[in-house]
Symmetry: C2
Subunit: 500 residues, 2 copies
């Protein structure tokens, strides 16, 4: 059956490429009635230690032209399929990290292969326009099929950008412009503003700030970096801005045993947010906006309650600050809702929501009042890439037709239940199991144990990612199913049983 | 002959798509012996005013979801070829602006079409990796074929990024790290540094600065924007950093008539650079680097002499500052050398060179001493895009095999000679004609005249771009030939003769 589906999916061009067809045994699960699930392998297959000899050889070569010490191994993306990443030494691994959470529907998805093979799409990949001045005919249509079809409630406007950092940087700018227009109360800009902004001085460049949270990560360009506080390695030696930083709740687990303590902790953090806004305002530094992740990801998968975020939204409104939700890592379905912040049930929507990674293009949604009042204010040469919008439209179609949000909830439950079970059996190795959808994580006793577990898992055929000081995070693609969860849990259970 | 070449170039898949083949008369110039030149039209063909009715309809629709006031018109990229941009109303225009200088070898180049059609390349477009941790097998090889094969002398290291702003932002960071390591004199970071950087404070976040020039443009994210001083619209309402800004020479034309005045002007600016470095150092703000464009592009195509830049490089060295050359717009051949700064004949190479636009990927070259001393210091999820590296390798192959650098010198000479002639005939409309290769420009009396000329030209079938307050800049692709220059000059001559 699988080969029948395959022949239906692939055109003549692809069939000529035998490398793409010879990829070993594929898994046919009970869910195989859905076409694309078949485009997967049936399990890990390890041939060497990872990184293997070929990877090590390539790492050495790359290290001649850039610092390559962060490279885990080199990949054979042609052979990678669905949830499985294949490396250059022929090792096939179940990938629960998916390129730092940036692969939406698995590797080499047949729908995307098909998209690339359609001659009418060629032009989109080779003629990249300056979208802000000369968009292609189908630009709005593709935005409607992709981004606007999943726009968070109340956010009718969207801008595309090339990456997550640019998305947050430009969201900050839209917020600063909005705030300044509010302050002005009219559209007339003074000569003094126009002149002073050219030399980086107020009033043209006002002393505005974004309030961020300790442990948050919002990117690495200078503006973003002033709101990023997850690891010193991101920030060391880079000049920054004196912007306010609030504490993020540190919840105790299991949540049901620490209801009161956690409420108090969240109240303390919210109080600090208000205090900081007032304190900074007193020293003439205006907090124009608050930026927050629904789950602090790089910083260690730190969660807070829906109630915390609803109250934070209220504080932003009360003080006239914009409320920016950074969904670069949490967005695109893995929490079981398309946007993680949909879980909160906000009455008044977020003002701005940024995205990137699995969305394939960066960008941000915003309320109409955050629309720049003139052209070229939020602008750059490319403003994203229509070839990414084209692929995103296809990805969103797959998410809908294959019901992948419900799948994330379902597979996430299988994963979380299994992790809780492992936590009960190995409390000295696993603690603070937490998650929403497949966006799960747990803590290990320390950095060294965490890294050792990741290395062992990799050599057993499972790619995991770390975050924070000692957490392991799960960031599978949206085609991660219950049976992948069970496969992982079996492997990991053995690892824990034998861990010394 | 053209159709014979065509059939050799296009595969079965493309032939099925009749839209791609029916595109009117194509020009066969004397240079037609070179294959790719045939993939062009024989001249503009105008059917409606621009923007036409279909463009206006689409602009209205797009304006519902984002500020679309900067849109010139909507394009039919499938029908666009070589130097000709076709819009959605069927107008075919000679494009001398090429998507804000970002199309290297013309629209729908057959080599790129072929690249996209090769099944073995499919995976690169649909499986975008996190390059810093899991690069594809051919990553180094493609970098060698593309970026490293054109690396500026002395710069052995390269990092890729997704856009021009991210390239400059990360170049700044590499410079700040390098400077701090120099100051430390060793690799040991103190506990105080590690802690203070997490809250944006020195010593972890030192009070370092980049020195930039008035009139320069280096991008629009917060760090870049602090070095951008071309137009108020880029900067208004955005908080900034107190970084030093030096005057950029304002040369008088024709250069041969103002040799002494221009030398004095350049000396004055250089003196100011040194004064600013000293002055800022006194107030404990350290100038870690100097950033400059070889030709200030957005700011109005402001040139300075090769001697100016050589002396600026010397000043940077003398004061221990890094010398960053921003080649985002000037790079990739249009000045007749691959990098515009190669014209200067520097003894000691630039320290860092940034690129994007026509290079298809962003990024920066740097000397080995600017290499980060640890992994993850210059890092983000995507770190560019291998599909762009793949296309760039092909583009660079075309530039070499078709001798497009010499072509830029040659076609540029035809263009500049013609512009000087028009300047002599219409001095009330055209002044300060200047340029290097096809990277040419002239001034008009004022903003209104400039914009009117651009609009008239567009309706006569020529796309031009403005820069600065009242300049018109030429940014054709690298397949712009002498005959395109003559075609433009004929059309523009008529426009000037009839201009009221």
């Amino acid at each position: 059956m699988a080969s029948m589906l395959l022949s239906r999916q692939l055109t003549c061009c692809l069939q000529q490429n035998s490398r793409l067809l010879v990829f070993g045994h594929r898994y046919i699960s009970q869910a195989a009635a859905k076409i694309d699930v078949d485009f997967d392998y049936d399990g890990p297959l390890m041939k060497t230690e990872v990184p293997g000899p070929r990877s090590r050889e390539l790492m050495k070569k790359l290290n001649g032209i850039q610092n390559a010490e962060a490279v885990h191994f080199f990949c054979n993306y042609e052979e990678s399929r669905g949830n499985y990443l294949v490396d250059v030494d022929g090792n096939r691994m179940l990938d629960l990290y998916s390129q730092i959470s940036s692969i939406p529907i698995g590797y080499s998805h047949p729908s995307l292969i098909k998209l690339l093979q359609q001659p009418q799409n060629l032009s989109t990949f080779i003629n990249r326009p300056a979208l802000g001045i000369l968009p292609p005919e189908n630009f709005t249509e593709k935005l409607e099929e992709s981004l606007l079809s999943v726009a968070p409630k109340g956010l009718s406007q969207v801008m595309t950008m090339s990456c997550g950092s640019c998305s947050n940087e430009n969201a900050f700018k839209a917020i600063f412009m909005w705030y300044r227009n509010k302050e002005r109360g009219h559209n007339n800009v003074t000569k003094e503003e126009l002149e002073s902004c050219m030399i980086n001085q107020p009033p043209g460049c006002p002393d505005y700030a974004m309030l961020s949270f300790m442990g948050g990560f919002h990117g690495r360009t200078l503006g973003c970096l002033a709101t990023t506080h997850s690891k010193a390695i991101h920030k060391l030696d880079i000049p920054s801005l004196d912007w306010p930083i609030a504490p993020f709740p540190r919840l105790k687990y299991p949540l049901e045993d620490f209801v009161k303590e956690n409420q108090q902790e969240e109240a303390r953090c919210l109080e600090e947010v208000e205090d900081l806004i007032v304190k900074y305002r007193k020293k003439k530094k205006i907090v124009a906006g608050i930026i927050v992740e629904p789950i602090q990801s790089e910083g260690g998968d730190n969660h807070a309650s829906d109630d915390f975020f609803r109250k934070l939204r209220d504080i932003a409104r009360k003080h006239g600050c914009a409320f920016l939700v950074d969904e670069v890592q949490t967005g695109c379905g893995s929490t079981g809702k398309f946007w993680a912040h949909e879980h909160w049930g906000l009455d008044d929507p977020a003002d701005v929501v940024t995205f990137s990674k699995k969305m394939m293009t960066g960008g941000f949604f915003h309320k109409e009042e955050f629309r720049p009042n003139a052209p070229y204010r939020i602008f750059n040469t490319w403003l994203g890439d229509p070839s990414k919008n084209l692929m995103l439209a296809e990805v969103i179609k797959v998410i809908k037709t294959e019901d992948l949000l419900n799948n994330a909830t379902h597979a996430g439950k299988a994963l979380l239940t299994g992790l809780l079970d492992l936590q009960a059996r190995y409390p000295h190795l696993i603690s603070r199991v937490r998650g929403r959808g497949t966006f799960c994580s747990f803590d290990t006793p320390n950095d060294a144990t965490r890294n050792k577990l990741i290395t062992i898992a990799r050599n057993k055929g499972v790619v995991l990612g770390g975050c924070g000081d000692r957490s392991i995070r799960f960031r599978p693609t949206l085609v991660f199913k219950d049976h992948h969860a069970h496969l992982f849990l079996n492997i990991f259970s053995d690892i824990l049983a034998n861990f010394k």
